[in-house]
């Protein structure tokens, strides 16, 4: 079915094509652009968090016996008595040495890099699982729906997708917990691991992980499914109308090859863009989902850090998410140019 002998050749052509469009220069230029954007975002977040309140007051507010002197000492200890520009430069200097400081309140005094690393892994795990399964399910459904436009199947799919897009994820999540955890007792109420190793199913850590992952991942998959189905469907409809699809049929290709080789390859171009942009955003975690399922991810950490005015954690997560979004966008752009030769990288 696919042109095996041509694969190597076409890859060679593609590489030549990309070299012609001076891809290396483009990537370099884009990377240079990232620097001012990155620092711009950093400054905004750095300044705005420090306008939000005084963390020392928040920490000591409930303690009636705290002295003004102790407060002073704490402020000095955190370096909050220094002028803002000095704090910022110090933060940048430390950041360039791979140090994002220590948290004030969350897991008191832990290095922010460790903290973000731990939580980011959980976010990745949840989000990638959901993304993988939503694409796996959405693409074939979208294709089928487009091929049988206006059929009963298509109407069912589009209607369901529309409903799926409209139901907020916290509602879906709570209902899922109510049914599968509360009533049926099949899955845990939340969290990513059992605290007590004796509760691991069959004593296996991996099974415990999957057991905890199942419910939030399923809810997220359904939430992400709907827009991808609609996107694949509309994009496929657009492509199927093109003459080159007729030309492929006229040259004697089987319907399957026409759909999966010619049509799908072209229909997936907008889907790649969507997934790329989504991918960047999802690394910030889904605060709502993570809150509902008590998932120890970046999103929940962010919310917690803000509510406790934990400056180093807030800025640390910002650094991490900003970098991820910027890199994801860059990768999307490059992938886009690779899969669609009409895009010229200037």
């Amino acid at each position: 079915m696919p042109i095996k002998t041509n694969v190597l050749q076409s890859i060679l052509y593609k590489i030549k094509h990309m070299a012609k469009s001076s891809m290396a220069k483009y990537v370099l230029r884009r990377l240079l652009y990232l620097i001012p954007i990155f620092f711009g975002i950093l400054i905004i977040v750095f300044v705005s968090t420090r306008m939000a309140g005084d963390p020392v007051k928040l920490m000591t507010g409930l303690n009636p016996r705290i002295t003004a002197e102790a407060r002073e000492r704490l402020t000095q200890y955190y370096g909050l008595d220094q002028p803002l520009y000095y704090q910022f430069l110090k933060f940048v200097w430390e950041m360039l040495h791979g140090n994002l400081g220590n948290s004030y309140a969350i897991r008191g005094g832990t290095a922010v890099t460790t903290l973000v690393g731990d939580y980011a892994w959980e976010t990745f795990k949840l989000q990638l699982t959901a993304l993988f399964f939503s694409l796996l399910i959405a693409i074939p459904i979208g294709i089928l729906s487009a091929r049988k436009q206006y059929s009963k199947l298509d109407v069912t799919v589009t209607t369901t997708s529309l409903i799926g897009t409209c139901i907020p994820i916290f509602y879906m999540g709570i209902v899922a917990i109510l049914i599968f955890s509360y009533s049926l007792g099949w899955f845990p109420y939340g969290a990513a691991h059992s605290l007590d190793p004796s509760r691991y199913p069959f004593g296996s850590y991996l099974l415990d992980e999957l057991w905890h992952l199942f419910l939030p991942a399923t809810v997220l998959t359904f939430a992400e499914l709907a827009p991808v189905v609609l996107l694949v469907r509309s994009s496929m409809l657009e492509v199927l109308r093109q003459d080159y699809i007729l030309a492929a049929r006229a040259s004697g290709l089987s319907e399957r090859t026409v759909i999966y080789k010619h049509a799908l390859r072209n229909a997936l171009i907008p889907v790649v863009t969507y997934v790329g942009l989504y991918f960047g955003g999802m690394l910030a975690g889904a605060p709502i989902t993570e809150k509902v399922f008590n998932w120890p991810g970046v999103g929940r950490l962010y919310v917690e850090a803000i509510s406790k005015l934990d400056f180093p954690v807030i800025t640390g997560i910002t650094v991490f998410v900003t970098l991820m979004v910027l890199i994801a966008n860059l990768v999307t752009d490059i992938a886009y140019a690779y899969i669609d030769p009409r895009i010229r990288i200037e």
């Binding site: 042109i3 002998t5 041509n6 050749q9 076409s10 052509y13 030549k16 094509h17 206006y150 009963k152 109407v155 093109q242 003459d243 080159y244 007729l246 030309a247 492929a248 049929r249 006229a250 040259s251 004697g252 290709l253 089987s254 010619h262 390859r265 072209n266 899969i339 669609d340 030769p341 009409r342």
Partner: protein
């Protein structure tokens, strides 16, 4: 040109269901009579022109012949074989054989090339499908084809978007030629091209015909290109053939009032010449509810005299291979 008939179409009908979307599901509310009971035959090695206004069913006819849009009814014989049976039997080998013999060049070269394939991939794909060229000769054949249509070897590794419209149409022609077809259906191949490029493509088509003896079914609304390239011409109006004749015969002595009106609309490059243009009243009626009797009667000045509202004219031979469907013409 021989008298041997390569393609014969008998009573071809193509109807499209007209649907309206209900609240949930579509329902059929009518039928578009795109092609209604059309019969004609094409001789081996000739260029058979199909002309008519847009929407008269030219493209529907062509697509139905290739089963890209299966016809509603009617029979199509290619080299004596009824091809509908082959398409319905789903015998993959027979089907491939048939696909090799008939090819299609589309109207819009901007939409008919897969943007993600290089020219080499596009032209060599038929080799992969039909396996009629040994693998080690693929590239030789590719370069031969490129040269044949007037492109250079280095064009092979480029993508379609890097070419102009005329060059793209050349790629389309090369792709069609890759299977060494006997019949090439050219659906307005020059309509979307610049006038300066049109002549080049038409000359290319003629050259290829002389070299390989390919039969063309040439579809166009542009009468001057039809006159230039076609041996015989059929005029279509609202899904029906109204006149078929040799090109010179048709252009010199058109019999059907619609053909006469069409021909009178060709611009003559002579400012002194005062043309007598026949301007038809009204618009082309809708193919959803085509007029009863002769389909042309609402716009025809002879309609009252011959009671065309009721009498449906049949295509009749008036001699010299000139067929016309008009009540006015005496048998």
């Amino acid at each position: 040109m021989s008298a041997e008939i390569i393609l014969e179409v008998k009573n071809l009908v193509k109807h499209y269901p007209l649907t309206s979307r209900g609240i949930f599901l579509k329902k059929e509310v009518g039928v578009v009579h795109a092609v209604d009971n059309v019969s004609f035959s094409v001789r081996k090695g000739e260029t058979f022109g199909l002309v008519g206004e847009s929407g008269c069913g030219k493209t529907s006819t062509a697509r139905a012949i290739l089963y890209l849009d299966p016809p509603t009814s009617g029979e199509i014989y290619f080299e004596g074989q009824e091809i509908g049976r082959i398409f319905k039997s789903k015998n993959h080998q027979d089907l491939l054989k048939l696909r090799r013999k008939m090819q299609y060049v589309f109207q819009n070269p901007y939409a008919s090339l897969d943007p993600r394939m290089t020219v080499a991939d596009i032209i060599m794909e038929p080799f992969v499908i039909h396996k009629h060229v040994p693998k080690e000769k693929w590239h030789n054949r590719l370069y031969e084809l490129l040269e044949l249509v007037g492109l250079e070897e280095y064009h092979a590794e480029r993508y379609p978007h890097e070419f102009s419209g005329g060059q793209r149409q050349r790629i389309c022609i090369a792709r069609a030629l890759a299977v060494e077809p006997k019949l090439l259906i050219a659906d307005e191949p020059v309509a979307s091209l610049d006038v300066s490029v049109r002549a080049q493509i038409l000359n290319l088509l003629q050259e290829l015909q002389q070299k390989f003896g390919i039969t063309y079914l040439y579809i166009s609304h542009d009468l001057s290109t039809v006159r230039h390239i076609c041996h015989r011409v059929a005029v279509m109006y609202l899904g029906k053939f109204v006149e078929i004749a040799e090109t010179s015969e048709l252009f010199n002595s058109p019999l059907h009032p619609y053909t006469q009106a069409l021909l009178s609309a060709i611009p003559v490059p002579d400012p002194e010449n005062k043309r007598s243009r026949i301007v038809l009243p009204g618009e082309v009626p809708s193919p959803i509810n085509p007029p009863k009797g002769c389909r042309f009667h609402p716009r025809c000045i002879y309609a009252k005299k011959h009671n065309c509202v009721e009498n449906v004219p049949e295509l009749v031979d008036v001699g010299k291979g000139h067929w016309v469907a008009c009540n006015k013409v005496k048998r």
